[in-house]
C-alpha cells in the first residue's frame, strides 16, 4: 500500500529543533478527495508537519510524500502540486482581489491568457465576481478569507493545505467557508487542515488525527473516535486523547517554575 494514489503519505516523520523534538515519528495518509484535519493544542507539531509537507522545513528523519513525490527529493515539483493558505492574512491589502489572484497565477507560471481565464473562474467560484476590483483591504473578513483560499487554488493543486482556516471569523462566515471547502473537495482537491475548533473538524472533516507532543494520539473518522471514547463530542475525545482532563488546572510543578 505504498500508494502513488495517496494525496499525502507521512511515515515515521521526525523533526528536531536543537534538543526539542517537535515531531516524534508520526505517520498518516490522506486519500484523494479527502478532507483531513490535524487537531491538537498549541505546540503539538501540527504546523511543523505542515511546513515539512510544504517543503519549507527539512525533516530530521522519516518520509513525507505529496501526490507520490518525496518532499525532500523533489521540492520544486511538490511546490507546484500544493496550495497553501497560511493562518496570517496573506492577500496583499493594496492589490485588488483580481490582482492578488493574477499575481499568484504568475508565481505558478501560468501564462497570461490561461491565468486570466483561471482567475475569472475562481472569482466566480469564490463568490467574489462582484468584488473583483476591490482592494483586499476593503473586503470583509469572510470575503478576504475566501480570496486567500482562492489564491491557493490558482494552479489546481492536488492538495490544499489550510492553516486554521476560520480563525477569527464569525459563525456565519465560518459556515460559509466550510461550504466553500466542501466545494473545493468536490472539484477533486484533497484538503489537509489544522484547526483549534473541534466543532469544525467534526462538521467538515472525513478523518481527524489528534496530535500532541509530536505524537499521533488517535486517528479516525470523527464518528468512530466519538464511539471509541464513548464521547458525545470531539471535545471529550480530544481531552481524553491529549490527557488534558482538567485544562484549567496546571500541574503543581509548572506553578513553581522560577
Amino acid at each position: 500500500m505504498t500508494g502513488r494514489s495517496d494525496a499525502v503519505v507521512v511515515s515515521g516523520l521526525t523533526k528536531e529543533f536543537g534538543a526539542t523534538r517537535a515531531l516524534d515519528g508520526i505517520s498518516f495518509r490522506v486519500s484523494p478527495g479527502e478532507i483531513f484535519a490535524l487537531l491538537g493544542p498549541n505546540g503539538a507539531g501540527k504546523t511543523t508537519a505542515m511546513r515539512i509537507l510544504l517543503t519549507l522545513l527539512r525533516p530530521t528523519a522519516g518520509v513525507a510524500r505529496v501526490a507520490g513525490f518525496d518532499v525532500t527529493e523533489r521540492p520544486s515539483l511538490v511546490r507546484g502540486l500544493v496550495g497553501w493558505v497560511p493562518q496570517e492574512r496573506t492577500a496583499d491589502p493594496l492589490l485588488t482581489a483580481r490582482e492578488n489572484l493574477v499575481f499568484m497565477a504568475g508565481l505558478h507560471h501560468l501564462r497570461p491568457k490561461a491565468a486570466r481565464a483561471r482567475v475569472t473562474e475562481l472569482l466566480q467560484f469564490a463568490g467574489l465576481a462582484g468584488h473583483a476590483n476591490r482592494l483586499a483591504a476593503d473586503l470583509s473578513g469572510g470575503m478576504r478569507r475566501k480570496l486567500e483560499l482562492a489564491m491557493g487554488l490558482v494552479h489546481l493543486p492536488a492538495v490544499l493545505f489550510l492553516d486554521e482556516p476560520t480563525l477569527g471569523l464569525d459563525i456565519g462566515a465560518r459556515r460559509s467557508l466550510w461550504a466553500y471547502v466542501r466545494d473545493i473537495r468536490a472539484g477533486g482537491t484533497s484538503v489537509l487542515l489544522t484547526t483549534h475548533y473541534l466543532e469544525e473538524a467534526d462538521a467538515l472533516c472525513d478523518r481527524v488525527a489528534i496530535i500532541d507532543h509530536g505524537l499521533i494520539m488517535a486517528c479516525d473518522t470523527p464518528a468512530a473516535l466519538k464511539a471509541a471514547h464513548g464521547a458525545s463530542s470531539l471535545d471529550d475525545v480530544f481531552l481524553a486523547a491529549t490527557g488534558q482532563d482538567m485544562p484549567d488546572q496546571l500541574p503543581a510543578d509548572q506553578l513553581v517554575t522560577s
Binding site: S76, W84, P86, Q87, F103, L107, H109
Partner: protein, 264 residues
C-alpha cells in the same frame, strides 16, 4: 494542466512579470508616495542648487556654475535614498507572512529579490530622467549630449544595484522594520556628506576628503559630473565602472549571506 509546462526562461519571465507588477501596483495605490518620488529629487536640485550657489560662487567650484555641479549629486543622492530604503518592502513581506507564502510556490527564490532590483532600477531611472530634464530646463547643458545622459543612467543603475543589495541584506538580517529605518536614516546623511555630492573634495577638510575617496558614491558622482561638465572621458568612466562593479560584487556577497539565513 494539459498545456506544455513553461521552460526555465519562460518561468523566470512569468514570475518576474508577476512580482514586478505587484511592486508597481502597490506604488500606484500610494498616491502620496508617487508625489514624493517626483518632488523630492526636484527639491534636492532646487534647494541645494540655490542654497549653496552663493557660497559656491566665491569658492573654486569647477565650471563655476553650482547648479550644473549639483545636478550629478542630485541624481546620485536620489538613487542612493530610494535604493537604501528599497529593501524594506521585503521586510514587510517577511513580517506579514507574505514572503513565506511566496516561498511555498514554484517561483524561484532569487526572483523575489531580482524583481525588486528591476523595480528600483526602473523607478530611480524615471526619477533621474525627471532631474536631468529639470536641470536642462534651468539651463544646464550636457557637455556629452544626450548620449551622456544615457551614460548617467547606466552608472546610476550600477551604483543603485549595490545599495539595493545592502538594503535587501539588511531587510533579511533584522527582525522588524522598526529597526530598519533608524539604521538607514543614520547611515544615509553622513554618507551623502562624505561624498562629492554637494562639495568637491578639494574644498573638504583632509580627513573628510579621505573618507569621501573611499565612498563609492563619490565615484558615481564624479563620473556624472565629468559627463555633464567636461564631456566623454572613456578612461575615467571605465575606472568608475570597475570600482562600482567591485562594490556591487561585495554588496551582493553580503546580501547572499543574509538571504541564505533569512529565506530558510
Amino acid at each position: 494542466m494539459t498545456v506544455a509546462e513553461a521552460g526555465l526562461a519562460e518561468q523566470l519571465w512569468l514570475e518576474h512579470r508577476a512580482l514586478f507588477g505587484r511592486w508597481l501596483a502597490r506604488l500606484r495605490r500610494e498616491r502620496l508616495a508617487v508625489l514624493a518620488l517626483v518632488a523630492q529629487p526636484l527639491v534636492w536640485l532646487l534647494l541645494f542648487g540655490h542654497l549653496f550657489a552663493r557660497m559656491a560662487a566665491d569658492a573654486a567650484i569647477p565650471g563655476s556654475d553650482y547648479l550644473r555641479y549639483v545636478t550629478a549629486g542630485a541624481v546620485v543622492m536620489t538613487i542612493f535614498n530610494a535604493c537604501l530604503e528599497g529593501g524594506v518592502e521585503l521586510l514587510f513581506d517577511r513580517e506579514s507572512g507574505f514572503l513565506i507564502r511566496m516561498l511555498a510556490t514554484p517561483a524561484h527564490r532569487l526572483a523575489i529579490v531580482t524583481s525588486r532590483f528591476a523595480y528600483l532600477a526602473a523607478l530611480t531611472g524615471a526619477q533621474s530622467v525627471v532631474i536631468l530634464a529639470a536641470a536642462y530646463a534651468l539651463g544646464v547643458r550636457f557637455a556629452s549630449g544626450l548620449g551622456g545622459a544615457a551614460a548617467c543612467l547606466a552608472i546610476g543603475c550600477l551604483f543603485g544595484a549595490g545599495i539595493t543589495a545592502l538594503s535587501v541584506g539588511l531587510a533579511f538580517s533584522l527582525r522588524s522594520h522598526a529597526q530598519f529605518f533608524p539604521i538607514v536614516t543614520f547611515a544615509g546623511l553622513p554618507l551623502t556628506f562624505a561624498s562629492s555630492a554637494l562639495v568637491p573634495l578639494n574644498l573638504m577638510p583632509a580627513w573628510l576628503a579621505t573618507l569621501a575617496r573611499l565612498n563609492p558614491m563619490t565615484y558615481a558622482i564624479d563620473s556624472l559630473q565629468g559627463l555633464i561638465m567636461h564631456g566623454w572621458q572613456p578612461g575615467s568612466l571605465a575606472g568608475t565602472a570597475a570600482v562600482l562593479a567591485g562594490f556591487d560584487a561585495c554588496c551582493l556577497g553580503l546580501a547572499a549571506l543574509a538571504l541564505r539565513r533569512g529565506m530558510r
